[in-house]
């Protein structure tokens, strides 16, 4: 029996009077008191501020002031985004404490204006890069389904916090999979929007041309409601696209009639967890029951884009960090040093060539999308990696495991939703990709899938205490 409740269901409960934002926030904070020493979700908490904002939300709702579904909802923000209530560290010893001091990232501004209750700043991999490092004075984010497993990164606290009920949604960032990986490993939903759909200004960069800010929450519908608030252009961000923001929930009506789904089966390999393929095939069958038609497809230039994604983020990240890498090498996490240092190994021409091939891949993918409306792949070929293995092998423990970076390189939106568990009780996920700026179709398909399944409502045993949110 699940004790999970979704963000959108909670928004309805706030409006029918069956709960209050103050009560929700108090329970969320109490749950964090009980669990966060084990999980490593928070880098900073703003309890007093959150309770104040919750009280305001309750007062406004009682007075008929409705700011939409994020109003009164306890959420967290990855600590790569600036927020005036506290310092931004990017989970690093290196970031200048003056960076972003007293200011809000554009996304944080929008969430505050929508009445969301931000309870604190969440753990990440250093600068949204690398892997956990026990030698640095920051929490090790752990997976709520098994504390010896990795929560996924880099939006680690966002994934484990939502999965454990410490919050109903969280802001993540995604340069090669950093929203989707923790969502997948922790068993919640995660939406990487189209590049430019959400302004990045006020967030520390990792790869300028591949960084995306987006939501993690229990359901695809939740992600749509969350994205509704943070999407839209802003002239303070050079990459933000000033397009109309549609109603992301308008088409989530439980039908996929007429939707053509391209199914990618070429990513399976003999080393995959044997449960992944049958879980994926079962998920495809569910989409068909809602009226979708399916056809096999192959993602064009998949290997090239996976390589280009790494090259581009290494070069762009190194450009940002080079002065600090020169003067404060040892202050960076070991995993960050290795990834960022790789940026020195590529030439300027290599970087430009990667950007040229990226354009080719965009064109080829657009041609593929002329024949299908959605593309589905497994999100990863296994469940969460063990922390011990990650410490032993570094990021090599995830080689060939993740199928996320392609969508950063091409810029299209991608959603992950839970699709089952493996024999170790670890979550597995389905990934759906769409044409640029067609996030609404992702929400529609994810919502339909989640009407027929309850994987997204499963709660880790560790979190199924009386302190339910």
């Amino acid at each position: 029996m699940s004790d999970a409740i979704t963000l959108t269901d909670t928004a309805a409960a706030l409006r029918d009077g069956s709960t209050t934002s103050v009560a929700l926030t108090q329970r969320a904070l109490a749950k964090a008191d009980a669990l966060d020493d084990q999980l490593g979700v928070y880098l900073a908490r703003f309890d007093e501020y959150a309770l104040e904002r919750a009280a305001v939300a309750d007062e406004e709702l009682a007075a008929g002031v409705d700011r939409g579904p994020m109003q009164g909802i306890p959420i967290g923000v990855k600590d790569t985004l600036a927020m005036a209530e506290g310092p931004t560290t990017a989970q690093s010893l290196v970031l200048d404490p003056a960076w972003g001091e007293g200011r809000d990232a554009i996304v944080v501004e929008r969430l505050k204006a929508a009445g969301a209750v931000i309870t604190g700043k969440l753990t990440t991999m250093e600068f949204a890069c690398g892997i956990p490092d026990r030698d640095k004075p920051f929490p090790i984010p752990r997976n709520p389904w098994n504390l010896e497993r990795y929560a996924g990164g880099s939006s680690s606290g966002s994934g484990s916090g939502v999965a454990s009920g410490l919050m109903l949604g969280a802001v993540g960032t995604d340069t090669a999979g950093s929203i989707r990986l923790p969502a997948m490993f922790c068993g919640v939903s995660g939406l990487k929007p189209t590049f430019g759909r959400v302004p990045n200004a006020g967030c520390t960069p990792m790869g300028y041309s591949m960084d995306h800010i987006g939501p993690l929450a229990r359901s695809a519908r939740d992600c749509g409601a969350f994205l509704q608030v943070i999407a839209g252009g802003d002239n303070r961000d050079p990459y933000a696209v000033d397009l109309p923001v549609p109603d992301f929930l308008a088409s989530a009506h439980g039908s996929l009639a007429g939707v053509r789904v391209g199914v990618v089966r070429s990513l399976f390999s003999p080393g995959d967890d044997p449960v992944v393929r049958p879980a994926f095939e079962a998920a495809v069958e569910v989409l068909k029951t809602f009226g979708a038609t399916v056809v096999d497809v192959v993602l064009p230039l998949y290997e090239e884009m996976s390589g280009a994604a790494f090259l581009i983020q290494a070069c762009e990240g190194m450009a940002y960090h080079l002065p600090d890498l020169r003067s404060r090498w040892a202050d960076f996490f070991a995993g960050s040093r290795q990834i960022l240092g790789t940026g020195a190994l590529f030439s300027g021409a290599d970087y430009v060539q990667a950007q040229r091939v990226r354009r080719v891949a965009q064109r080829k993918l657009a041609a593929l999308f002329a024949g299908v409306d959605l593309i589905v792949t497994p999100g990863a070929s296994q469940g969460a990696t063990s922390l011990a293995r990650m410490e032993e092998e570094g990021a090599a423990s995830l080689i060939g495991v993740l199928h996320t970076a392609y969508w950063n390189a091409v810029g299209n939106p991608a959603l992950v939703v839970p699709m089952g568990f493996n024999a170790d009780g670890l979550p597995l996920s389905l990934q759906l990709g769409a044409r640029p700026f067609e996030e609404a179709l992702l929400v529609q398909a994810g919502d339909a899938y989640q009407q027929a399944t309850d994987w997204h409502l499963r709660v880790p045993p560790l979190a199924t205490s009386s302190l339910t949110l």
């Binding site: 972003g100 200011r103 991999m125 949204a128 890069c129 690398g130 892997i131 990164g153 340069t175 090669a176 999979g177 990986l181 200004a201 006020g202 790869g207 041309s209 002239n235 303070r236 961000d237 050079p238 230039l301 290997e303 090239e304 996976s306 390589g307 280009a308 790494f310 090259l311 290494a314 990240g317 080079l322 890498l325 020169r326 070991a334 040093r337 290795q338 990834i339 240092g341 790789t342 020195a344 190994l345 290599d350 060539q353 990667a354 950007q355 040229r356 091939v357 990226r358 354009r359 080719v360 064109r363 032993e392 092998e393 570094g394 990021a395 090599a396 995830l398 080689i399 060939g400 993740l402």
Partner: protein, 83 residues
Amino acid sequence: LRAPLYARSAGSERRPEPDQSAVVDAMLAAAGLSPEATEREDLIATYAMFKPVVEALYAVPEARYEAPALVFQAAPKLTPWGA
């Protein structure tokens, strides 16, 4: 996590050509970076692993006359964040 392709163990199974070590040393020196010895070895292994990946990008025929996926705006309508 940003770098599923980075491989310490997988890279260490490769035996880079001696000239690759020299290339990596020169690139690191040019960038002004001073990794520890084990980190240097890892970066050499990474370079060996990525060399064919980079060459594969130059081998995509459709890219021959393609423009990069970056757009420079001569007249950006931008107010810096925090200004």
